[in-house]
Each structure stands twice: as structure tokens, then as C-alpha cells.
């Protein structure tokens, strides 16, 4: 996977030189080890700043919304699914895009590595399967599969679903994974256990809405939490308001969420907010056999009515 960059640069250069696109959206090296920064490249000579490694976590589809230019974009499996979501929801036109597909073996969880390493990391290196970090006079090597982000470890769509160019050979999809173990655990709790579980989980939430803002699905001009007439949700960090926000945000992503993990990654308090969206993803799969962002021609289940739709809890 680390070898993709040559191909990415080659394609980007070609697209810019031939003026097929106005900009290419990709990643550049961040100022911290194990961090990349999403960026755009408009001039052919800047193509060299693009990089590709296991730290390209950010979902680039979040940068496409309502753009008017012609855009080349690097897309992992999850990014491509969110691009399809955008196509379905008319946030961007297919003709505007040249998608450089990047078959992905998962991005690494930099916070987990930092935690296990226990001190400041100054240097970072990666090979196909291994990550080595150095700092404070010591170094440690991790197997990449052990330090994947949780959503990458359970990912079942690693290959881009839609693409014009490929940065590397398609990878094998994971089939023997259990995507919903954690959800089932919560489902098995009794009512009060569930309530308390989420009460504790959300107790550190600072209502910064980073999860919402990082999400490629959240593009409403005015979010319901920001509305004040009527005021659906209080603005303080009262636990009920916090819960309402998380709950409703998840509902708004039902049938759309691709489990890209952008929300969790953005959360400054590391709250596992995916537990909400994943539950609805699971329900969509169980009830409608639906996974979001696989086919630009198909309408999502909550957008259509079929006589044989399941009736859950209806009288």
C-alpha cells in the first residue's frame, strides 16, 4: 500500500497537466509524526507534496460538498462510498470528478500507538506490515494489523467502489469479520444498563460538535442543534441535551453512514460515537439488507417505500 504514492503523483500530474481537473485533493505530510493534513494541489509542480501512508485517515469526501470545480480526488473504500452518497444526494456531479482509487488495508490508530508507546513520538516509519516509532531514546515496532483503527479492522469494503484510476492492485476484502459484536453487547443490556452506559460514555462530551462537522454526511446549512426557534436541544452541556444531540445526529445518518470513522477520529475527548451510527447501520442491514454508498443508481431505504418493507413495532 505504501507504494501507491508514485502512481498517485503520476496520475495527479497528468490530470493537472492535461487540465482535466482544476485541483487534486489528497494528503500532505503533517507537522506531527503519524499525522497527515488534507490538502489540494492546483499546480503541477506541487504534486510532490502529496503523500500516501497509513495515516491518511481523514475522509476526503468531506471536502467535496458543493464544490464547483473539476476535482481529482484520492478515495479509499470508505471515501468512495461517501462520494456515492454525495452523488445520490446531489451534492456533487460525477462529471466533475476523477476518482483515484486507493485500495486500502486499513489506517492505523495513532492515539492507540501513542498510548502504548507511553511517551512523545519523534519519528515514525512504516513498511508494508509494520510500524516503527521512535522517541525518548527508545523505539518500538508494531504489527500494523494490531494497531488498525477499529472501523478499519472491521471494514468490509476496502476497495473503492467507484474509481477512474487505481493507485494499486485491488486488495482482498475481509469476509470473516464480525462487524457488530460491540453493538450486540449493548443490545443485550437491560434498559437501565443501557441508559447508564451511555450516560457514562457521554459524560465527557463538550458539545463541540466536532463529530458532526467532521462527518461527510452532515452538511445541513443549519443543524437542528443550532436552531433556536423552536429550540429542539438546549445549548449547554446538560446530559439530556448532549444525549439528544448524539441520538438525533445518528438518526440523521441512518442508511447513509459508511462507518468511515471520521466522527470518532475528530472527537477531542475520544468518545466512541460510532456506537450510535453503527447501531443504525446494523438495523439497516438487518431490516433492508442495505449498506450505504455502494450504488449511485439505487435509492436508500429510508427514501423509498416498498409494500414489503418491514413493520417494526407497528400496531
Amino acid at each position: 500500500m505504501i507504494g501507491y504514492i508514485d502512481k498517485i503523483r503520476e496520475v495527479a500530474l497528468k490530470l493537472l497537466n492535461e487540465e482535466k481537473v482544476d485541483m487534486v485533493i489528497g494528503y500532505r505530510q503533517g507537522s506531527l509524526p503519524m499525522m497527515t493534513e488534507p490538502c489540494f494541489v492546483k499546480r503541477p509542480e506541487d504534486v510532490e507534496t502529496l503523500i500516501w501512508d497509513s495515516n491518511c485517515r481523514i475522509n476526503l469526501a468531506a471536502y467535496l460538498m458543493d464544490r464547483k470545480e473539476k476535482i481529482g480526488i484520492i478515495a479509499k473504500g470508505c471515501d468512495s462510498r461517501n462520494i456515492i452518497n454525495h452523488l445520490v444526494e446531489n451534492k456533487i456531479k460525477r462529471e466533475q470528478l476523477v476518482i483515484i482509487g486507493a485500495p486500502c488495508k486499513g489506517m492505523i490508530d495513532n492515539k492507540a500507538i501513542a498510548l502504548q508507546f507511553g511517551q512523545d513520538i519523534d519519528e515514525y516509519q512504516e513498511t508494508e506490515d509494520q510500524i516503527t516509532v521512535k522517541g525518548g531514546g527508545t523505539e518500538k515496532t508494531f504489527q500494523k494489523v494490531d494497531v488498525l483503527q477499529e472501523n478499519c479492522a472491521i471494514c468490509n469494503h476496502r476497495n473503492p467502489v467507484v474509481y477512474d484510476e487505481l493507485a494499486g492492485d485491488l486488495v482482498e476484502e475481509q469476509t470473516d469479520i464480525d462487524r457488530y459484536e460491540d453493538i450486540r453487547k449493548i443490545e443485550a443490556m437491560d434498559i437501565d444498563e443501557k441508559w447508564n452506559f451511555f450516560e457514562d460514555m457521554l459524560s465527557t462530551c463538550i458539545r463541540c460538535y466536532a463529530c458532526r462537522n467532521a462527518c461527510p454526511l452532515c452538511y445541513c446549512p443549519t443543524c437542528f442543534v443550532d436552531e433556536s426557534k423552536p429550540q429542539w436541544v438546549g445549548k449547554s452541556n446538560d446530559p439530556n441535551d448532549t444525549r439528544t444531540f448524539h441520538f438525533l445526529r445518528a438518526f440523521h445518518c441512518a442508511g447513509r453512514c459508511t462507518d468511515c470513522g471520521a466522527c470518532e477520529r475528530a472527537c477531542p475527548m475520544d468518545i466512541p460515537v460510532r456506537l450510535f451510527t453503527k447501531k443504525l447501520g446494523k438495523d439497516c442491514l438487518d431490516l433492508y439488507g442495505w449498506e450505504a454508498g455502494l450504488d449511485p443508481e439505487q435509492r436508500p431505504p429510508l427514501d423509498t417505500f416498498k409494500p414489503d418493507d418491514p413493520n417494526v413495532g407497528m400496531k
Binding site: L32, T36, E37, P38, R207, K235
Partner: protein, 347 residues
């Protein structure tokens, strides 16, 4: 100023004595959560093993949500539709283990909340009720750059006492203000010692700070040139407008006032707000002077590194705690931006 030696026993006993006369605040760690500043329950001791709290200590003086008034809309009541002030507890607070950067940040916020023209009663009363017992950083982190913005790991601005860890598990405490002296006395910490012991520790700590930023040209730059500089689209592109930088920042002071009404009783409160949100500048007419994210990013950096510099002539509005650098999900680094602004030359 004098330096006091506190051994482990005196430390625990002192804390117990102070409980009677102060509300105690300090870093607290709950399992599975990040350490944060909290009001401590009786018998709890501040956890001084944490390198720094995840969010800043500004919430001790300036809580994220603060109720200011309450009112009733029930016309059967005599004082309906009148704001009543909420009673607040401004009894003395002892804030333990605040790092020098966070303490210095309070003085920056003070310039805004306690000026010649305006005095914010909530902030000022809370601030004045606090005794700040700082905790010197002998092992600053990789993203700390306090020495570049005029502070340092042993900086005393905004502190009443400064604790430095000593070899035997206790502390050396430098008494900085009278408030600090009073607190030390009531805790029974009175064994004076040689002040010279601190100097080499301070130098060693400062030498450990590897991250450096240049801020020397910022004041000389023309604000309009920087505002119009073609750097902002590139800097702001990655931004998700998540607001993490402002919420974790010890020097960000912006707030929003909101009413909440349930049935007929209402409260008016203020909550932290963030210039990263489109709603922050959205006007009643529907016009938004900062419609794009690079406008908002520009505002944040220009405010911290230029407007503040020009208005108060007291350095930058940043204490170098590195929180925004660490927490930004897309790695927008104030140090990089600062260098770009500092070295910017208009075409």
C-alpha cells in the same frame, strides 16, 4: 520571594487543613477518561502525576455553561418577565496543579473580561476567588512551545504559589503573592529553604523544550497585508470547522448567550462559542461576514497572532500549551501558521 519545602506528610496534612477554608480544585482522573480539572470531593487529593489536563484549566474560572439569570413567564407571579440574578458561590477556591501555561492564559483572558471599560462580574469574581497553586513542568511535552511565546515551564504569571517536585516525593513551593503566602500558612507549610535550588531545575526544564516558533515580526506586519495574504485558502482547506482548537484553548474566551425555557420558567445562560462555526457570525438578516471556512480560520489566527498583538501590545494570545496542535484532527498547526504569518512578505 521565599521558597518553602513541603514533604509528603506535610502535603497530605496541609491539603486536609485547607479543605475547611477553600473549595478545592485540581486535576482528577476517572478510569477510562482523560484527566481534567474538577472540583474535588472532600478527602480527594489533586492528582499531580498528570502531565497536563486534556482540556485547559480555564473552566475553573470560566465554565463551559454558566447560568446568569432566571425568570418566570407566569403572569400570576409578581416578578414575571424580570431577570433575577442567580446566586453564585464565590468563596475562596484553591486551584492545585495548574500548569504555568494555563495560569498565564488566565491573565490573557483577564485583559478581555476586566478592562477599564468593562468588567465581567462572573469571570472577575470567580477569578478573584481563586488561589492558583501552579505545578512546574520539569518534563515538558513535544508540542509545548511556551518559551517561544514569552512564557516558560516555570513561569510565574498568574500564579500565587509554584510547586516544583523535589527528590523526596515532596515539593518545593515558591511563594509568589500574598494570597499564596496566606494559603501556605493555613496549610502549615512553613519550612523555608534555599531559593537557589530552583534555578538549575528551571534552566534544565527550559532546555527540554524543543519546539520553537518565531513571533518577532508579527507586530511589524501590516494587518491588512496579512488579512489579504494568499495563504489562507491553503491553511484553511483541511479545516473541518470542528471547534476543537477553541474549546481546548486556555485563552479562547468567546461565548454565546442563550435562553432556555421550560413551561414558564426560564434561564439565561452563556456557553462557550467558537469562531470556527458559521453560526458564530451569522447575522439576523441572514448575512454572514465569514461565510467560508478559510475566513474563519483566518479570524482565529489573526485574532491570536495579530489583532491581539496590536491591541494590547503584550505579545501573542497564545501560551504555547500545544493542545490545539495535538487535538486537531487534520493537523492544522498554529506553529506552522505562526511562522507563515511571521515571515510573510507581501508581493
Amino acid at each position: 520571594m521565599k521558597v518553602i519545602q513541603i514533604d509528603t506528610n506535610q502535603w497530605t496534612e496541609g491539603l486536609a487543613k485547607l479543605e475547611g477554608s477553600y473549595r478545592m480544585f485540581g486535576p482528577a482522573e476517572t478510569e477510562g477518561k482523560y484527566p481534567e480539572f474538577k472540583e474535588l470531593e472532600k478527602g480527594d487529593v489533586p492528582n499531580l502525576n498528570v502531565s497536563n489536563t486534556h482540556l485547559s484549566a480555564k473552566s475553573v474560572v470560566y465554565p463551559q455553561s454558566e447560568v446568569m439569570f432566571e425568570y418566570t413567564l407566569d403572569e400570576a407571579k409578581e416578578d414575571h418577565h424580570q431577570l433575577r440574578e442567580i446566586e453564585k458561590d464565590y468563596s475562596p477556591r484553591a486551584v492545585f496543579g495548574i500548569r504555568p501555561c494555563d495560569a498565564a492564559a488566565n491573565l490573557i483572558i483577564q485583559r478581555n473580561f476586566d478592562s477599564k471599560e468593562y468588567r465581567d462580574p462572573y469571570w472577575v469574581d470567580a477569578f478573584e476567588s481563586c488561589v492558583f497553586i501552579g505545578h512546574a513542568c520539569e518534563n515538558p511535552g513535544a508540542t509545548c512551545f511556551c518559551t517561544s511565546v514569552g512564557f516558560g515551564p516555570f513561569n510565574e504569571d498568574g500564579l500565587d504559589l509554584l510547586l516544583v517536585e523535589s527528590d523526596n516525593g515532596g515539593f518545593l513551593a515558591k511563594v509568589i503573592t500574598d494570597k499564596g503566602a496566606v494559603l501556605a500558612k493555613s496549610a502549615g507549610w512553613e519550612t523555608e529553604t534555599d531559593a537557589a535550588a530552583l534555578e538549575p531545575l528551571k534552566e534544565a526544564a527550559e532546555a527540554k523544550i524543543r519546539s520553537k516558533v518565531n513571533t518577532d515580526q508579527l507586530a511589524k506586519q501590516d494587518a491588512k497585508d496579512l488579512f489579504d495574504a494568499p495563504i489562507w485558502e491553503d491553511i484553511g482547506f483541511a479545516c473541518l470547522n470542528c471547534g476543537t482548537c477553541t474549546y481546548s484553548c486556555p485563552t479562547c474566551w468567546c461565548f454565546d448567550i442563550q435562553d432556555e425555557v421550560k413551561d414558564k420558567s426560564g434561564i439565561r445562560m452563556r456557553n462557550w462559542d467558537s469562531c470556527m462555526y458559521p453560526l458564530f457570525t451569522l447575522e439576523g438578516s441572514g448575512h454572514n461576514p465569514r461565510p467560508e471556512k478559510h475566513h474563519r480560520i483566518r479570524q482565529r489566527f489573526m485574532h491570536k497572532l495579530k489583532y491581539y498583538v496590536d491591541k494590547y501590545q503584550a505579545g501573542v494570545q497564545c501560551v504555547g500549551c500545544g493542545r490545539c496542535v495535538r487535538l486537531c484532527p487534520v493537523n492544522i498547526d498554529i506553529r506552522t501558521v505562526c511562522e507563515k504569518m511571521n515571515s510573510y512578505k507581501p508581493a
